[in-house]
């Protein structure tokens, strides 16, 4: 069907996208790798070859291990809340009810709120220990208001980020649920299968793939949470809520240590690639279908 002529045309049509993405991928990443081997500080003139020093300092810095731990805690914490919450909500929204459209709209809304807004709204209007909603509630109950962002900074950020991502998992799992084979469900019900066994043997296997997709895609985005931390805690107190992206930002743009920041960036890239590897395999498998 496709002639040689149309093949050439097709190649021409693809090439701008390919060339641009190739440059975008290779040039800055190449530069980051190059910088990561240099002694390069924006406040000091000149650069010199540093070998693996930057990596050595970055990886042996206590802040890195804190940041790595915080990054993992953040990702896992948000995933637990959003996956289980998402399954529950999707199952609920899949039931017949009145005003389903409106409930759906309310549940999905947080996803469209920009990260700086959601972080500041939670920080000031809800978690503020003096005038926040939670403080008002605590006072009304005769309790001492709790300063969330000072005493549990990472947990608070997990809550904020989970709130923003819950709609995503809910929406995807709901979409998956709706493609469930109703007749199979009914047949199982006729045969006397209990709700639990129907859920476990029919619904869960059907959802597995979507859950995997949710986990992988969210992980990609959650590994680079940044704005929420910047506007709420600035990574603090100390390094209590510093994750890897924030640490790299602080090192390169606040301390002007280009070499060290670049080494950190490469470490982050390697981490993300481990996740990306599995995600790509999943999506690739699906592409044939």
């Amino acid at each position: 069907m496709a002639t040689a002529h149309s093949r050439t045309a097709a190649r021409l049509m693809v090439s701008p996208a390919v060339i641009l993405l190739f440059l975008w991928m290779i040039v800055p990443l190449g530069m980051t790798i190059y910088f990561s081997f240099l002694r390069y500080n924006l406040l000091q003139p000149g650069t010199s070859f540093a070998g693996l020093d930057n990596y050595y300092y970055f990886l042996t810095n206590a802040a890195f291990w804190d940041a790595l731990w915080n990054t993992i805690t953040l990702v896992v914490g948000v995933l637990i809340i959003t996956v289980f919450g998402g399954i529950g909500l999707a199952l609920l929204l899949d039931q017949p009810m009145w005003g389903q459209g409106i409930v759906r709209v309310m549940v999905i809304a947080p996803f469209f709120v920009m990260p700086t807004v959601s972080a500041l709204v939670w920080k000031n209007m809800f978690m503020n220990p003096v005038n926040g909603m939670f403080a008002h509630i605590a006072k009304a109950l005769g309790l001492q208001p709790y300063d969330f962002l000072a005493h549990a900074p990472l947990a608070s950020i997990i809550l904020i980020v989970a709130w923003a991502w819950l709609p995503f998992s809910t929406l995807i799992l709901l979409t998956a649920l709706q493609s469930l084979d109703r007749e199979q469900q009914e047949a199982a019900e006729m045969d006397g299968a209990s709700w639990l066994s129907r859920f476990w043997y029919l619904t869960v296997p059907h959802l597995t793939r979507s859950i995997t997709v949710v986990i992988l895609i969210q992980t990609i985005f959650l590994l680079s949470v940044f704005a929420e931390i910047l506007v709420t805690t600035n990574g603090g107190p100390g390094t209590a809520s510093t994750n890897l992206p924030y640490l790299v930002y602080a090192q390169s743009l606040l301390s002007f240590d280009v070499g060290g920041g670049s080494a950190g960036g490469i470490v982050a890239v390697i981490l993300a690639n481990i996740v990306a590897f599995f995600l790509m395999r999943m999506i690739g498998k699906n592409l044939d279908a």
């Binding site: 097709a10 190649r11 049509m13 693809v14 701008p16 996208a17 390919v18 641009l20 993405l21 975008w24 800055p28 990443l29 530069m31 980051t32 929204l93 039931q95 009810m97 389903q100 409106i102 759906r104 309310m106 809304a109 947080p110 996803f111 469209f112 709120v113 920009m114 990260p115 700086t116 959601s118 500041l120 709204v121 000031n124 209007m125 503020n128 005038n131 709130w163 995503f168 929406l171 995807i172 940044f226 704005a227 910047l230 506007v231 890897l244 992206p245 930002y249 743009l253 280009v258 920041g261 960036g265 890239v269 981490l271 993300a272 690639n273 990306a276 790509m280 999506i283 690739g284 699906n286």
Partner: protein, 276 residues
Amino acid sequence: MARKTTQTRKAFVTAIAWIIGFLIFFPILWTILMSFKSEGDAIKAPFAMLSSAWTLESYGEVQERSNYLRFFMNSVIISLGSTVLALVIAIPAAWSMAFVPGKRTKDLLMWMLSTKMMPAVGVLVPMYLMFRDFGLLDTRTGLVTILTLINLPIVVWMLYTYFKEIPGEILEAARMDGASLRSEILYVLTPMAVPGIASTMLLNIILAWNEAFWTLQLTTSDAAPLTQFIASYSSPEGLFYAKLSAASTMAIAPILILGWFSQKQLVRGLTFGAVK
């Protein structure tokens, strides 16, 4: 016999769902309500706050003090600009991959996707330095460029999955009937492709509007969009609840409305077609 229990059950499910939905939506609702209060009333306890007088003063003040409209226009220009640019580059690419697939089309698609997996911090330093050296820091041009690039893989993918669904036979039929390539594209393909392109556009505008890594890193004032505008409230101005609420409401309202129209496309776009 099941009739009665179904109705009771439905009422029960409805109640639970509405309560949970309301709780999830509550922070947004609260922000919107608070934006119509005076600064003094906004910090009152919840019930006192609700019963206080309604006013539009915060909106006026936000515009007056920080020129909200300029940030809004930056957001519009950056998100629309990057979306249109990404579409211009992606439509031909997705088109040819969907209709003239080669041996390597799949690899190409997967590779494009892999560029999206690279964390932004990995290229933060060189991008910042390049932007500085080329005078692109705090310019709309710079941001449009970078947002185009980061969203290009998603745009190509989404378009590809939509174009894939256009049956190839219809083209052959048109050709048989003697349609020229031009009229084939104009009268047969375009009408079928428009819905997919529109959904892709919608999703991309939302993603670009809310992008909060590069917009925060690469702008300070001139080209700063709403993400940066809100970030300027981080402290201590954030304690002016009514103004923060008004600013937030204005920043999220346009996209909240657009977003509600694009629920379905959202799933498809963000899962790269893995869940439809």
